[in-house]
Amino acid sequence: MWEYSEKVQEHFFSPRNAGAVEDANATGDVGSLACGDALRLTLKVNPETDVILDAGFQTFGCGSAIASSSALTEIIKGKTLDEALKVTNQEIADYLDGLPPEKMHCSVMGREALQAAIANYRGEEWKDDHEEGALVCKCFAVDSTLIENTIRDNGLTTVEDVVNFTKAGGGCSACHEGIEEVLTKVLAEEGKSFNPAARSVAVAMPAAPAAPAKMTNIQRIRRIETVLESIRPTLQRDHGDVELVDIDGKNVYVNMKGACSGCQMAAVTLEGIQERIIDELGEFVRVLPAQAMPKAERAYG
């Protein structure tokens, strides 16, 4: 069975704001055909201030779908519509002390219901722009659609490329067969075949800001440390910690300590840290657990 956090269980067993809001003036109905979950969100919005006075949900779905619906309604009550629209999936997941990677789509559905309800209130039409494929990489919760699109948009040809652009495959590597299959399929559409020995497209991350000014090694290490410093209080609140172990080219090795080490959210946390460092340095780095450090010196490349 899934390992649900106490918080998820609590919101599942005693959901908040279950049922439709009476005299609601906004309704959002969304569902995911693939997984069969469906959600109706009803809101009562103050027309003068745009503040959400009340929110209620009805969910046809699993434990985490129900828990994330419940969390969403708690988060958005009292917010203005514009504030509510800024709520991210990660915030919903964080509110619940994390969701298993297979279940992240449940928080996506909550946010989409919110967008749909607000569009409904404003008399706009809401179109779903989010397409979901089968989950390929469990470590980083990446699905096949995202991998396919990224391969197409960036002309990727190797598993290493996919790791660099999507993070999929950058953890335990068990999903590499699946990634090769996606590569084979997309390359075949372009009349090419997948070659396991091909060289990576050596380009920067697509999201990375324009060419960063050259930094000295010391400067670079300092900035990475600064990022870790800024994250530390959040981790410590959950009785965890992080420590910089080594930097080897684009690989940044860290030690997760306390409640974070071995916790199932460790991968997600590493992912978050990685994003922050990339933002700060303006270059692509890979944040890896210290256990992943190469044991002996190996020629790289």
Binding site: M1, W2, Y4, Q9, F12, F13, P15, A18, G19, D29, V30, G31, S32, L33, A34, C35, G36, D37, A38, L39, R40, F57, Q58, T59, F60, G61, C62, G63, S64, A65, I66, E102, K103, H105, M109, E112, A116, W126, K127, D128, H130, E131, E132, A134, L135
Partner: protein
């Protein structure tokens, strides 16, 4: 996850795995300690172990009604047995590039077949009707001298539906095609008499019949052309190399002996428990129905669809009361798809996601059945209250129209 109650848990998930019978545990324990020898060794330590394995082979032979004990090949699990059978048939007949199987097989067969398709094999997936039954005419049409092997399960693990494997094996034999059956769910629950059948290969798995996990058998009829999956030492007459899992083999032998003793109990006592459970739940819960073929299925399995709610949520609430069952919902499988078996039978999404499987064993009691009958209706009601398809006292009018979400 822990449960709220201090009552003893109720285990209704015996198609997933079973408790090892205490007598079976007792039989296997000496093989970890004083009987640790390698059965292949020339000395006294090994010799006794060799005899114990021979005895176990005989016990399994008897349960399966096999003609010879040399037809029993020990493997590591049901999955290995399935893979060995199918890959052996392909290896032994390189000119035959087709396989016949069904859309409702266990992943142990389906995932392998899907993989073989990538290697250029053609796989015929026989379809099922709304009750999970096969169309034998379609089967007859698919049989040809291009087919290397037919692999059809004896009983379906989700619904318990039984397939006419004896008849299908005869048809395969008449067409000169090898026939394998995944009998992992059937062995120990229905009588089997292989010597009077046309079945060439059969898979079973220890942990479904009160033996430990990690031990399986592939029955290979004498004279069947066979190519091993694992080559190496001469164990299992060269058909499956690797030092024997002696303790588990002994345990499986004992479990098979006990299964044979209790066979009639499966058909009477266990069936009565299952029937009472099903009737009690269907009576108390509106908009619920049995999936599969109620007239032709394993005596221990009840698969009930609760409409408009989702299975994982049901399991979590049951678990809180100490009741263990399974679901065909997408969210319990780790994939995002509801059970391939429910989809193959054309069960609508709003019901497929709420299918719940209760699978019993001879260790369950009528008292447990009554407690589950009490527990289920309020759980279903509680979840329906949250469901957008459900109104005050029943499904909203035209559920498909009243709630038609924008789908991703």
């Amino acid at each position: 996850m822990t449960t709220d109650t201090d009552i003893q848990g109720i285990y209704f998930d015996n198609n997933a795995t079973t408790m090892v019978d205490p007598e079976v545990v007792e039989a296997m324990l000496p093989f970890f300690t004083e009987q640790f020898g390698n059965p292949s060794s020339m000395h006294l330590f090994g010799n006794k172990v060799g005899f114990a394995i021979k005895k176990a082979r005989g016990q399994i032979q008897e349960l399966l009604g096999a003609e010879l004990d040399s037809e029993i090949v020990f493997t590591s699990c049901g999955t290995e047995s399935d893979s060995t059978a199918i890959l052996s048939a392909l290896k032994a007949q390189p000119d035959r590039k087709e396989i016949i199987t069904t859309v409702v097989e266990h992943p142990a067969v389906l995932a392998l077949c899907e993989h073989l398709e990538k290697d250029g094999y053609k796989v015929h997936y026989l379809k099922v009707d709304g009750k999970g039954r096969l169309d034998l005419d379609a089967y007859r049409e698919a049989l040809s001298d291009q087919v290397a092997i037919v692999s059809v399960m004896w009983a379906n693990n989700e619904t318990g539906t039984l397939f006419p494997v004896l008849e299908m094996a005869e048809m395969a034999k008449a067409a000169g095609v090898l026939f394998h059956t995944d009998a992992v769910q059937a062995v120990g629950k229905v009588p089997i008499d292989l010597k009077n059948s046309a079945i060439d290969m059969l898979s079973l798995s220890g942990h479904k019949l009160h033996a430990p996990k990690g031990i399986g058998v592939l029955y290979v009829r004498r004279n069947t052309r066979f190519r091993p999956l694992l080559r190496g030492g001469h164990q299992e007459r060269g058909r499956r190399a690797g030092t024997e899992n002696t303790a588990s083999i002994v345990a499986l032998g004992k479990a098979c002996e006990m299964a044979l003793e209790h066979m009639s109990q499966e058909q009477t006592t266990v069936r009565a428990l299952r029937d009472r459970l099903e009737q009690g739940i269907l009576e108390a819960v509106p908009y619920s129905f049995v999936t599969g073929d109620p007239d032709n299925r394993l005596p221990n399995t009840a698969n009930i669809a609760f409409e408009y709610i989702e299975g994982e949520a049901i399991l979590l609430l049951l678990n809180k009361l100490g009741i263990a069952a399974s679901s065909g919902s997408a969210c319990t499988s780790g994939s995002l798809e509801p059970s391939h078996v429910m989809r193959a039978m054309g069960i609508p999404y709003t019901a497929a996601h709420g299918t719940t499987r209760f699978s019993l064993s001879r260790y369950n009691t009528m008292d447990e059945v009554e407690r589950v009958i009490q527990a289920v209706p309020p759980i279903v009601a509680q979840l329906r209250k949250l469901s957008p398809y459900w109104g005050a006292n029943g499904p909203v009018e035209e559920p498909g129209k009243a709630f038609a979400p924008a789908y991703a």
